[in-house]
Amino acid sequence: MNSFTQKHTLQWKKVGTALLKGLMFLMLFINAIPLLWVIRTAFISQDKALDLFAVGLPTLDNFKRVLAAAPFGKYYGNTLFITIGILLVQLVFITLAGYAFARIDFYGSRLLFILFLSQLMIAPEVLILPNYSLMVKLGLNDHLLGIMLPFFASAMGTLIVRQTIKTIPTELEEAARVDGANLPQILGKVYVPLLLPAYLSFGMISAAFQWNNFLWPLVMTDSVSKRPLSLGLAMFAMSYETGAQWSDVSAATFLVCVPLLALFIIFQRQFMDSFMHSGIK
């Protein structure tokens, strides 16, 4: 190969790389279109919503109509209660279980570990039918607590905590033990502070899951006042058959999406860092 062709291929490689980059930017744009469009439709006045090329000043009219038409405040409250309630219980449970799996050599550990893993794969949302009959028997259908109970144990959270604890040197625990700390103190003072990044990434995943959870609340709730946000949004959107109310549906969709997107944007750096280092591989 002489120097001329070498230079030639180098140039072609550069062109190829540039084309590839261009393609990726195009994909990025295509990927972002749904979000951009829903934001645009949510903030533009209703009469212009159907015309893609119409321009107008942003308005909050759509949001006012949506909030007047459906109890989104109540839905918000329910979802917040469910999401935070589940997460708090999960954090306690996964810390205890994760520690046991990471640090204790005990009889039955393999069996229990497989049991936990099977929950990771099957997940309560597949078992809507038997869980629903169980909740009816317990008298918990159409209760927020009934919606929450199946998610208190989290195999994924347990695995994340287990992986993270395994990266922490045992010397810390032993030093605390020498100082006379008992197990609750060791967990609280030694491990919990070191687990905070893992809690953050698990918290984001768990919150996103509960915020989005739909099918289970759908079968569990009868009354409007027990509906979480996802269900409320679906019912709201379904009440319009045609495209005439797009601006309203967009505004409602935007309302539902904003909190999680905001959380993601605010905690983006920490979330990425902990996601990359906390053993979620």
Partner: protein, 321 residues
Amino acid sequence: MDIAMKIPQKRVQGQDWTLQREEYRVGLKKAIRGKWKKTLIAWLLLSPSLIFLTVFTIYPIAQSFINSLYKDNLSTLKPVFQGFTNYANLLKDKAFLECFWNNLLVAVVTVPCSIGLAVAFAVFEKGIKRGKFLVRLGFIYPTFIPMVAAANIWMFIYTPIYGLLGYINPNWRFLADGKTAIWAVMAMLIWKQAGYIMLFYMSGLTGISKEMYEAAKIDGAGSFQLFRLITWPLLAPTTTYVFIIALTNAYKMVDHLYIMTKGGPGNATNVLLFYIYQTGFDYWDTGKASAITVVLVGLLLIITCIKFFHDDRKAYYNETP
């Protein structure tokens, strides 16, 4: 901290053998008692999770299996035992079979597509110097949007005439046509899933050292070769993990159907979990819905077993998995 490590193993020459044996016996007893004590603590720590896991995952699976052996629908006052009739009926049920094959199609198409896009996004994101944040946001945001909300948005896209695609061709009715509907739904699923998988690949990419790329570059490797020879092989563990996650998700994601198609037209976009919902909560055929639940759980367990098999095989080659 194995029991065996704590007890004297070898007979020491020149010492009293009975004394050594006694020492061994006491040591073993102590070690076992210690392990039982630890077992108690471990089970106590695990008990909260374990109780909820048993009540809401293990027990419901058993309950589904038992219910699936009964005829239990609106025509029966009390459940009637009928053996495996529900399963035999499923094999003759056209709707069920359609759901089964649709689900398989969804898995076969969306999993590789999402993974491919996710890798491309992650590699692209790593190479970007400015505007990383916007690139991340643009790719990952679908993860944080509720499925129901995503379905609403995609309805706007697919609606004929007024929808976004209507600007290209007003006559496209992808969701109303039995042949194209499932592809339209899958396009949305890929869009929703790729960003989530990208998170895992970004995590995997941080584990690959820069020196490796630099060395390959000195040897004259192009960017495509770098990807083929370094990035992709070293991402293999991530790919395995993500493959399992995406595969199980293909069987769990159904919320969008409630908004977009209700499983229609006909059963063209219906999948197993949504069919369980329809059978159990629209037609109140508990026996049949339980049988489908058992089938779905079985499928998910098979996927899990693939993972275990893979992990086991890997363990032979690599001490630390």
